[in-house]
């Protein structure tokens, strides 16, 4: 198909690079430099989608981020991306795009029937459906989702790659129109490091469609000179196709950049910290509200100019302009220059005398002053408009033939980023728009986004803003002067929020305010009739300003009409909150490279390689990968764990315990310091002694536990849980630095410096001997709960005789770079004893048989050491963090949950962890929950399942029978028992 609406000359498209693409399955052509929207218009595609609720045919209205109608799905398969605006999709060879709405097709849409049934889907439809009978939404949902059509997301993971980068600059300039370019130049000349970002593929903003002169040269030449200058500056970085979408605290902004040049990365998220920010994003033109103002062919006046001048597309033959200000005349001028016919310029003002109207008139355009478009007519596209007097004056009611209506209701400065930064906006009666109030961060707005619309003024303000930003950051501005454009006379805008009501069929026609959500004037009026007054409520009730355009086109009209309905002023009604993102951003861009394997750091112990070689499946604990178990041929988890448990208790097992947190606490006050943080008596520990320690929060609840060893009078070696290592170090530092800075203590994390190999079982001593241990291992010389430095396999190590299994056991601490060597030697030395490597699962079973807790599994921040039966290790002769709280009424009340064991009555069923404990069998509500099971395993050594948990008043309930009920409804009868199942006297660990 030929590009029937493409002008023979002009525009910034590259005619030597023709591109083919498809839209709704049709193959079309365009040029490099086109957007999908301009190419569709060039090909005469008037209907590009269907509206959200009423399924009315819709065409392209705008040329930028404010486009409400041309919502498309681009790409296919996993690369498909829904809900893009055709005005923001750069045309590429082979691009595949479809309308997201329109079923079965955009030209024949069954949903159109909604248009006739408008009353059913009026304002508050969703609200009422949700709030009425419970099933209502569920009944309607499938129909509504299919009919509404919001594009479809690919179901698999995103195959595209993203990255994120940090950047710092002295001056960040957002927007490269006349104001932004001037600001970037003057800031750069002052010596500042400048970052200039613009969402378009080429710099220029409004200048890309501008016919004026700047510094006595055509705007496009000036633009080329500015771009060349900025590119040549070593301290200036220019980012094209880059949208600043979030303005956060302390001048931190997020930008997303589309990268079409490097297909390895499709989008890049920039996190920018700017010393100063110049906001120069321009303004969005306002639509006008009149009956059938959504017919394909009704466009923003500035968009008409942009399509003609930038893309060389004149989207029709006969034009009517409808405006309340001078800027609308530009469309007529451009249309005439492009060889089109202008039927009339309809201006609601009586008094028209600016430069642009004069030019249009001199070119032969008919101007109807004091007149409005009372309504538009046509079925699948605009055929004619009806004009009528605005008030008393104006021409008589009559019909004008046209296929394009260019409307301009004035301009809305893009105050989005200013608002996100925390700044307020103020209403300017002249020219009837919100402009940024005082900045609350180090920012300044310039040009159209600051409510200044003349080219000359934008250039001057941008220049000044750039100098000012540089000066505030300590740079001396250079003596450069602002670029100049000829002065222009323009008449005042006359606010026009809706047209006078007409009699006849047009009176019943819909007047759209928010096109993307199909919010009409009558919806707003309905909301007001139903008593909604606050703009945030009206927004949610009518959906005004929702959707991917976030009300960029319709919001101000909506607020003005709400103000009219409430008899208030626009500033009294106020705006809704502007939140990031300015335009939709892909989740992929936010995630960047931190996906899949890179989502979270993975920590591997120095013994990882051996574990992989020996087929261990891994369990993630904190960020560590820990060997879960070591299956032999044909074994599953259960059989492997049974074998590992039995072998360890019968002979000797070996485990990698390197992930335990290790902190060296040294200094003259180390003992005093630890006394204050742990519950047991530290002073009583002689050098070489180990002790089990529990750390409480100040609220008295168990926070962490571990074994500590006294290595010297002023030196302790403290271990923590795997998951708690970082928290414990921070906790220690908090108290040392904030509360007790007088204490002389040094803390050093040694978690990764030392690796820990645990040997457990009656033959562990024999294995150490076989490894050539040079210290006396006899129980009298090296008793339980002591530590020795030693040499094993001729390597220096530290041995701890401690036990988490209840067996005779040792932990070998060895330099991490020798850990693999030491482990392999232990395996060799232990071969004669059938040494059995075991993983975390067996470790859990062995400790549960002994009733040892795992902090974070068996405790949850609401458990005191008293609840756990640890009174024996709580000093009565000193104060420590949390001690006072143990005397609080809630901590001493009877009936607290206490640590107990459970046996399944059938001696077969392993109760599911998390099961709730209840009394009786009926489960008739209300069922008091008496406690829960936190650990549960099959004990191979005992031959039956064991469980542990917390139970109201548990210590006094030993012997009681209860019912354990799991989340799946499974029920097991259990008996409450003491929480130690194996070797209650603890003889084995003292062997």
């Amino acid at each position: 198909m030929s590009q029937a609406f493409r002008l023979p000359v002009g525009g910034r498209i590259r005619r030597d690079e023709p591109l083919e693409f498809t839209f709704n399955g049709r193959t079309l052509s365009g040029f490099a430099g086109d957007t999908l929207a301009s190419a569709l218009l060039a090909n005469g595609c008037r209907v590009v989608g269907r509206s959200f609720k009423y399924h009315r045919p819709r065409g392209i209205m705008a040329a930028g981020a404010e486009e409400p109608n041309a919502i498309v799905q681009v790409g296919r398969g996993q690369h498909a991306e829904p809900n893009l605006k055709a005005t923001q999709v750069e045309l590429q060879a082979g691009l595949e795009a479809r309308s997201v709405r329109g079923w079965p097709s955009v030209n024949f849409d069954l949903g159109r029937i909604n248009d006739r049934l408008g009353g059913v889907l009026a304002a508050g439809f969703y609200y009422k459906t949700f709030m009425s009978s419970a099933g209502s939404w569920h009944r309607s949902e499938r129909f509504i989702r299919r009919a509404a059509g919001l594009g479809w997301a690919p179901t698999g993971s995103d195959p595209d790659r993203y990255e994120s980068r940090n950047a710092h600059c002295d001056v960040l300039v957002v927007g490269a129109g006349p104001a932004g370019l001037s600001a970037a130049r003057s800031a750069a000349l002052a010596g500042a490091r400048v970052l200039l970002v613009d969402d378009q593929p080429e710099l220029g903003g409004a200048l890309l469609a501008c016919r004026d002169t700047i510094d006595r040269m055509p705007a496009k030449d000036w633009l080329a000179a500015q771009a060349a200058f900025l590119e040549a500056q070593p301290r200036v970085r220019v980012l094209r196709r880059c949208t600043a979408f979030g303005y956060h605290d302390h001048n931190f902004l997020s930008l997303v950049q589309h990268d079409l040049t490097d297909h390895a990365v499709v989008q890049r998220l920039w996190r920018v910290r700017a010393k100063q920010v110049v906001l120069a994003q321009g303004a969005f033109e306002r639509s006008l509200v009149f009956p059938n103002n959504d017919l394909p062919g009704v466009m923003l006046a500035s968009a008409v100019s942009t399509y003609i001048r930038r893309y060389a597309v004149r989207p029709g033959c006969q034009l009517v302009v409808f405006t309340n200000n001078d800027s609308g005349y530009q469309a007529a001028i451009d249309w005439l220059e492009a060889g089109g016919q202008v039927e009339a310029i309809v201006d609601c003002r009586d008094d028209v005398r600016g430069d642009l109207p004069r030019t249009a008139q001199s070119m032969g355009a008919r101007i109807l002053t004091g007149t409005v478009v009372a309504g538009a007519r046509g079925r699948s596209g605009l055929r004619s408009v009806e004009v009528a007097p605005a008030a008393g004056s104006g021409v008589a009611r009559q019909k004008l033939q046209c296929d394009v209506l260019a409307m301009s209701g004035g301009w809305n400065p893009a105050v989005h980023l200013h608002s996100q930064s925390g700044g307020r906006n103020q209403w300017q009666p002249e020219p009837a728009c919100f402009t940024p109030g005082n900045p609350v961060q180090a920012a300044v707005s310039a040009g159209a986004c600051n409510g200044v619309f003349g080219l000359r003024e934008c250039l001057a303000q941008g220049h000044q803003a750039g100098q000012e930003a540089a000066r505030r950051w300590g740079f001396e501005p250079a003596f450069d002067e602002a670029s100049e454009a000829p002065a222009m006379q323009s008449g005042a805008l006359m606010p026009l929020w809706r047209v006078p009501e007409m009699r006849g069929r047009l009176a019943a026609s819909k007047q759209f305010i928010d096109y993307q959500n199909d919010t009409t004037l009558s919806d707003l009026r309905l909301a007001l009739r139903e008593g909604f007054e606050h703009i945030e409520h009206i927004k949610r009730y009518t959906a005004l300003g929702f959707g991917t355009d976030q009300g960029k086109m319709g919001n101000i009209n909506g607020m003005a009409l709400v103000a009219e309905g409430l008899g208030k002023t626009i500033p009294e009604v106020g705006t809704t909150t502007f939140r990031p993102p300015f335009t939709p951003v892909r989740f992929g861009a936010c995630a960047g490279g931190d996906v899949g394997d890179l989502y979270e750091p993975v920590r591997k112990t120095p013994l990882h390689e051996w574990q992989v070689e020996n087929g261990a499946p891994f369990e993630v604990v904190g960020q560590w990968l820990r060997a879960h178990y070591y299956p032999h041929e044909g074994e599953d988890l259960e059989t492997a764990v049974c074998r590992e448990c039995l072998a360890t208790r019968a002979s000797v097992g070996i485990m990698d315990a390197s992930t335990l947190g290790k902190i060296d606490v040294s200094g003259p006050d180390a003992e005093t310091f630890l006394e204050r943080l742990y519950t047991h008596d530290i002073a009583r520990m002689s050098v070489g002694r180990c002790a089990y320690g529990v750390m409480l929060g100040e609220d008295g609840m168990v926070m962490d536990d571990g074994v500590m060893a006294r290595l010297g009078p002023e030196r302790f070696y403290v271990t923590t849980t795997t998951g708690g290592a970082a928290n414990v170090l921070s906790w220690m530092e908090l108290w040392l630095q904030t509360e007790w800075p007088d204490l002389q203590v040094r803390l050093t994390s040694l978690t990764e410096t030392w690796s820990t190999i645990a040997l457990a079982g009656p033959n562990s001593r024999q294995v150490l001997r076989a490894m050539g241990c040079d210290v006396d291992l006899e129980p009298e010389a090296f008793p339980f709960m002591t530590t020795r430095t030693a040499r094993l396999e001729n390597e220096p190590v530290r041995l701890f005789r401690i036990s988490f299994s209840g067996e005779l056991a040792y932990e070998i601490n060895v330099r991490s770079d020798r850990a693999d060597f030491m482990w392999r030697r232990a395996m060799a030395a232990g071969a004669a004893f059938g040494i059995t490597p075991y993983g975390t699962e067996t470790m859990h079973v062995l400790r549960a048989e002994k009733g040892f807790i795992i902090v974070g599994q068996d405790t949850d921040g609401s458990v005191t050491p008293v609840d756990l039966g640890m009174n024996w290790m709580m000093s009565k002769s000193k104060d420590y963090i949390g001690r006072r709280s143990l005397a609080r009424p809630d901590c001493v009340r009877p009936g607290r949950k206490q640590w107990v064991g459970f046996r399944s009555l059938d001696d077969r069923t392993v109760v599911r962890e998390g099961s709730q404990l209840v009394q009786g069998d009926t489960l008739e509500p209300p069922v008091p929950l008496l406690g829960h099971v936190s650990s549960s395993y099959f004990s191979a050594c005992l031959g039956y399942p064991i469980a542990l948990g917390l139970l109201n008043d548990g210590k006094r309930r030993h012997g009681e029978e209860l019912l354990a009920v799991d989340a799946g409804g499974g029920r097991t009868r259990v008996r409450v028992v003491a929480p130690v199942f194996y070797d209650p006297e603890g003889e084995r660990q003292h062997a």
């Binding site: 609350v440 921070s730 904030t738 800075p741 006072r884 609080r888």
Partner: protein, 91 residues
């Protein structure tokens, strides 16, 4: 993303820091001298002020020092940062 001036390292992104709550809450010298209500007040009650606040932060992924930040809880503006026991420093 706040920009926080660590008194030792200079201005760094908020993501390097951990928030530690309200500043100037001293642990009672003799906890046993306090009634349950007084102890609960130390333990649980915070002023949660709107506006100027003094709070402690830890430069967790940096020098690991705790320090005081004077921050406005409405505007999030940081007026000054101090070492735990020292002179203020304006950002």
């Amino acid at each position: 993303m706040l920009l926080i001036e660590c008194p030792w390292c200079g201005p760094r992104d908020e993501s390097e820091f951990a928030y530690g709550g309200e500043a100037d809450i001293s642990r009672p010298i003799d906890p046993d001298a306090l009634s349950d209500a007084e102890w609960a007040d130390y333990l649980f009650m915070r002023s949660n002020r709107k506006g100027e606040n003094r709070e402690i932060w830890n430069h967790q992924h940096g020098c690991r020092r705790w320090f005081v930040v004077e921050r406005d809880t409405v505007s999030y503006a940081i007026r000054a940062t101090f070492p735990m026991d020292g002179e203020g420093r304006s950002p």
